[in-house]
């Protein structure tokens, strides 16, 4: 009996480890902060190159396991932003980015682990808000 439970647990762990994780982050690009968030260091150079601001702060993030095909995952990113992600095939995702009731963007992307999709900017004061969607194994 113990052996059976162990085998089932191992199977469940294997499935969990195999599932990819999708994350959506809300980033604030600014010139008036005290440095970039350490958790954004891996894309800070690309962010600066693309958006021109000096510093990038993470305002919020939502993370979840990528569901099965055609099942929707809802990620609450913070500050009223929500991402709806629906897998459509091998690496194909349908992504809907909402702020409040407004659909800021609807896209279909081919996203592999390590890839980022940046969407924005949304002007707030002198700063910009950027959404970053990424996939991890």
């Amino acid at each position: 009996m113990r052996a059976l439970i162990l085998i089932l647990l191992a199977g469940l762990l294997a499935v969990a480890a195999d599932a990819a994780t999708v994350q959506c982050r809300l980033i604030r690009a600014t010139n008036t902060s005290n440095g970039t968030d350490p958790q954004l260091q891996n894309i800070a150079t690309q962010l600066e190159k693309r958006f021109g601001y000096k510093y990038y702060r993470q305002l919020g993030a939502g993370k979840g396991t990528l569901p099965a095909k055609d099942k929707m995952l809802r990620l609450d990113v913070g500050e009223g932003f929500t991402a709806f992600i629906t897998p459509k095939g091998e690496g194909d995702l349908m992504v809907e980015l909402y702020s409040g009731r407004a659909a800021v963007a609807k896209l279909t992307v081919k996203l592999k682990p390590g890839g980022h999709v940046l969407a924005g900017p949304i002007g707030v004061g002198q700063d910009w808000l950027i959404l970053d969607l990424t996939l991890r194994e």
């Binding site: 409040g100 963007a105 896209l107 980022h116």
Partner: protein, 180 residues
């Protein structure tokens, strides 16, 4: 007595009438009370408008505006310019055609490449880790564009025309009520 044209009077009131027309209007208004009154009225209206100008403020900060302009320029640079049907570069076209004929002829004469010839590995195209296939933004008067990829692991979707707000509270209020 014929009166000057109304647009001459308006131009005189603006200080933009020059030459003989200006002389004519000034001479006429000395003897015509109606036109003189019209000129005074026009100047009075202009003075009122000048004194009560509403300060013009940009809806978006300059950085945001210029970034949108830059993104639009980058987007248009990626669209190939249309080639006119009557090409004005016959020499270049002839050169390209001649090069194609020479290459095809050489292959035909030399035969297919030998299979035992040492060949290096064919470099595989580096697959993109993030590729945006379609994008749209349902909010009226906005446009979403995929910027040209510079790194294989980052795709950028540039959305222009989104409402600009002064702070996060206003942003949440504005976007909460925004229809899409």
């Amino acid at each position: 007595m014929s009166h000057p044209k109304p647009e001459w009077l308006a131009a005189w009131a603006d200080g933009e009438l020059r030459g003989w027309r200006r002389w004519l209007v000034e001479r006429h208004t000395q003897n015509c009370p109606a036109c003189a009154a019209e000129c005074r009225h026009q100047r009075h209206v202009r003075e009122l408008l000048r004194q009560h100008q509403r300060p013009v403020t940009m809806r978006e900060p300059p950085e945001f505006f210029w970034a949108q302009v830059r993104a639009e320029i980058e987007r248009r640079e990626t669209v190939p310019a249309p080639v006119p049907a009557d090409s004005r570069y016959p020499l270049q076209l002839a050169t390209v055609l001649a090069a194609i004929i020479v290459v095809v002829g050489w292959i035909w004469v030399a035969g297919p490449p030998r299979q035992d010839r040492a060949q290096g590995p064919v470099p595989a195209a580096r697959p993109g880790l993030a590729v945006v296939e379609t994008v749209n933004t349902p909010i009226p008067n906005t446009a979403a564009t995929v910027l040209p990829a510079e790194e294989p692991h980052i795709a950028v979707v540039w959305i222009s025309g989104l409402p600009w707000t002064r702070d996060m509270d206003e942003m949440m209020t504005v976007y909460a009520d925004l229809e899409s």
